[in-house]
Symmetry: C2
Subunit: 385 residues, 2 copies
C-alpha cells in the first residue's frame, strides 16, 4: 500500500520527502561524504555547501547564518531553548509535550488557551513575573491549527524587557516560538514576529526527519545541551548531518517560496471540505479558531461517534486521518489539547483531525469528503438501530 493509492490527510503528523529535496541531498550520501571539518579541498567544498544551506535557512526566516543552530529536530531545539533558562518560565496548556515537559522541570506558569485553542495575550502578560526568563508559545497548534497572536505576545515581552531595563534589572527574558506547524503556510520572519528564538522542524515541511533548527537572536545566551567536538559554535556538537541539512534548506526554501499560493490552495480545499461536511451533519463541531487557523487544518467532531473508530473505518476506505496528535494517538489517551480547551467528552471523543498538504488536490479531497460523509452516515445509522 503506498500513498499513491491512499488519500493522505495527516500532513501535520508527517510529510513525504519532496523529490526535489531528495535530489538536493543525493550528492552528499555516497559521493561528497567528507567530514566538513577535514582540511582537504573536497571536505572544504562540503563545508561550503553546509554553510550555504545554513545561509539559505537563515534567509528563509529573515535571520543571519550565525544565529542558526542545527539540531536533530524540533524536540531537541525546544529542549535547547529551555536549557538556557535558569528562572521561571511561562507557556500554555496546549503546547507540544516537548514544551510542556521542558517547562514542568522548571519553576513554571502554564496559561490556559480558550476553547478555540487561542492563547490570550493578557493571560501571558499576567503570568510574567520579575524572575521570568522564558516565554514559549507555538506559532500554531498542531491539533486545532489555531494560530497564536505571536506579534502581540512579542510586544508584551519587549515591554517587560524595557521595564526591567528602566529599573536596572538585568534578568533576561526571551520569547521562544515553536513554528513546527505553520512554516510553509504562515509568514515566519523572525523580525516581523519580534521573537527571540524560533524552532523549525524539517520533517514537517517535506524535508528529512530528525533535522531541525533553533534560531536565536544575537543577544540570547544559550547553554549547550550536547557537548563534544564543538560544532555549531560550540552550542551543539556532533559531526554535521550534511545531506540532511542541505535537504532541510531546500525544503524550507521550497515551502517559503510557494507559501502564499499553497496556503490559498489548501484553504480553498479545506473550506470546501468543511462546508460539505457541516452541510451534511449540522451537529458537527469544527474546533480551532475560525479566523486564525492554519490553511490545511480541519478539526471536526461528530458528537456521539468514536473518533478512533472513525479513523479505522476511514482507513479501510483508503482515507488516512488522525484523532489528534500522533503522539497522543499512540498512547490511546484523550488528547491533552482537547481536554485543556474544555471540549465536552462527547465532542472530544468524536473528533478527527484532517490536515491537508502537498498530497491533497481537488479530486482526492472531493472523494475524501464523500467517503467521510458515507462513513459518518453509516455510523450514526448503526448507533440509532
Amino acid at each position: 500500500m503506498t500513498h499513491n493509492q491512499l488519500i493522505y490527510l495527516d500532513h501535520a503528523a508527517a510529510t513525504p520527502l519532496d523529490p526535489r529535496v531528495l535530489s538536493a541531498m543525493q550528492p552528499y550520501f555516497s559521493d561528497q561524504f567528507y567530514n566538513p571539518s577535514s582540511p582537504y579541498a573536497p571536505a572544504v567544498a562540503v563545508r561550503r555547501a553546509y554553510e550555504q544551506a545554513r545561509h539559505d535557512l537563515a534567509t528563509a526566516i529573515g535571520g543571519k547564518p550565525g544565529e542558526i543552530i542545527i539540531t536533530a529536530g524540533a524536540t531537541e531545539s525546544i529542549n535547547m531553548a529551555f536549557n538556557g533558562a535558569s528562572g521561571h518560565v511561562v507557556t500554555d496548556n496546549i503546547e507540544h509535550h516537548a514544551v510542556l515537559n521542558s517547562a514542568k522541570v522548571r519553576d513554571h506558569t502554564i496559561v490556559s488557551a480558550d476553547i478555540r485553542g487561542f492563547v490570550p495575550v493578557l493571560a501571558v502578560k499576567l503570568a510574567i513575573r520579575n524572575d521570568t526568563q522564558l516565554v514559549s508559545i507555538a506559532l500554531a497548534n498542531n491539533e486545532l491549527g489555531t494560530v497564536q497572536p505571536i506579534r502581540d505576545i512579542a510586544q508584551v515581552i519587549k515591554d517587560e524587557r524595557q521595564s526591567r531595563l528602566m529599573r536596572g534589572d538585568k534578568t533576561p527574558i526571551y520569547l521562544h516560538c515553536d513554528a513546527s506547524q505553520g512554516v510553509g503556510q504562515l509568514d515566519v520572519n523572525v523580525a516581523r514576529l519580534g521573537i527571540d528564538m524560533l524552532t523549525i522542524n524539517s520533517g514537517k515541511i517535506y524535508g528529512p526527519k530528525q533535522v531541525g533548527l533553533l534560531w536565536t537572536a544575537s543577544h540570547v545566551l544559550l547553554t549547550p545541551l550536547i557537548v563534544g567536538g564543538g560544532q555549531e559554535r560550540g552550542l551543539r556538537s556532533g559531526t554535521e548531518n550534511v545531506a540532511g541539512v542541505i535537504g532541510f534548506a531546500k525544503a524550507l526554501q521550497l515551502v517559503t517560496t510557494h507559501r502564499k499560493y499553497e496556503a490559498e490552495r489548501l484553504a480553498d480545499l479545506r473550506d470546501g471540505l468543511q462546508a460539505i461536511l457541516v452541510a451534511a451533519f449540522p451537529e458537527a463541531v469544527v474546533s480551532g479558531h475560525q479566523k486564525h487557523r492554519l490553511a490545511g487544518h480541519l478539526h471536526i467532531a461528530f458528537p456521539g461517534l468514536d473518533g478512533e473508530r472513525l479513523v479505522f473505518l476511514l482507513e479501510a476506505k483508503g482515507v488516512l486521518v488522525s484523532t489528534g496528535s500522533a503522539c497522543a494517538a499512540n498512547k490511546g489517551t484523550r488528547s491533552h489539547v482537547l481536554t485543556a480547551i474544555g471540549l465536552s467528552d462527547e465532542v472530544a471523543d468524536g473528533s478527527i483531525r484532517i490536515t491537508l498538504g502537498h498530497l491533497s488536490d481537488v479530486a482526492n479531497i472531493d472523494l475524501a469528503g464523500q467517503i467521510v460523509i458515507d462513513t459518518v452516515t453509516q455510523e450514526y445509522a448503526r448507533l440509532k438501530r
Copy 2:
C-alpha cells in the same frame, strides 16, 4: 572532484554511504514516510520496519531490542551516558572531546594513556573511588587506532560492583564504551565485552550521518537529555528518523557480517603500506599500539616535516589523509591525543593519520604508498637545501 578520482585514506573521519544502505533507506523517504506513532496500517508498517531495525541493531551487538536507544549520533549517545551519573566519573586523556567535555563538567579523574595510547587497567582501577558512578573508555582511539583492554577494565568494574554489594553500598557503577571507532573491525558484543553501556555511530560505518545508538544493560538507570513526545521509552523524544535508522541497521549488519574478512584485508593492506614507508624512511615513527591496533589505522610521523603541509601536498596529488582527528585539524591546534601520550613536538608535528576502509584496495594503496614516498622524499630534500 569525486572520491573515484581520489585516493581516500581518511575513513576514520567520515565514510561514504554504502549503496546497499541507501537502497534500504530509499522506500522511507517519499513513499513510506508516515509517522510511526500514527494509528493507521501504513504507519504501523513503518513502526514495524523501525522496530525491526532496532532488533537488527541489537542482534548485531548481542543485546536486546529494548536496550537500544536511538540517538542523533555518538556525541549525543555519549552525553546521554554521562547524564545519568550524579557522582564521580573516570575516563582517560585521549578520549574524544565528547567524552572529555562530558567528564569535565562533573567530579572527575582522568587517567593517562601510555605512549602507545594504551590505557593501563591498573590506572583505571586506582582511579575508582567509592563514589565513582561511571567509567568511560573508548574501544579504540580514533587517532592512533590503539584498541583498549575493555574486557579487563570491565572485570575491574564488576569487582568494584561486587565489593560494593558485599558492604551494602548501593552506589551504582557503570562502564561505558564508545565504540565509534572499531565497529566493523573488532568484535563488538556487549556480553563478551562485559560493559554496561555502548555507543555506536552510523556515520563511521558507511551509514547515514547523525544517527547513532546508546545501548544500556537492563540494570542501568538513565536520565533523558531530551524530553517531549516520549519516544524511545521516554528516554529520547523526537519523531523517529525512520529512513536513517533503517540505514544504520543495514550498515551495522553489513560491517558486522563482513568484519573478519574486512579486518584481515585492511590489516594486510595497512601492514604492506607501513612496511614500504618504514623501509623508505627508517627515521619514521609509527605510533599506536603495534599489536592492539585497528586494522585500517596507520599513524606515522616523519620527524622534522610538517604534517599539515604533508596533508596538503598529498592532497595536490590526489591522496586524502589527515593530521589527526578532523575536529582538532579544523581548529589548527596540536592534537590533544598526541600531546597526551607524550610524543615529542617533532614527532607530533610531523605525523599524518592514514585510515583505510571500503574505498581502499591493493591498487590504490600501492599508488598511495608511492605518492607518500615521493612527497616525503621531496620534503626532506627541500629542508636539506
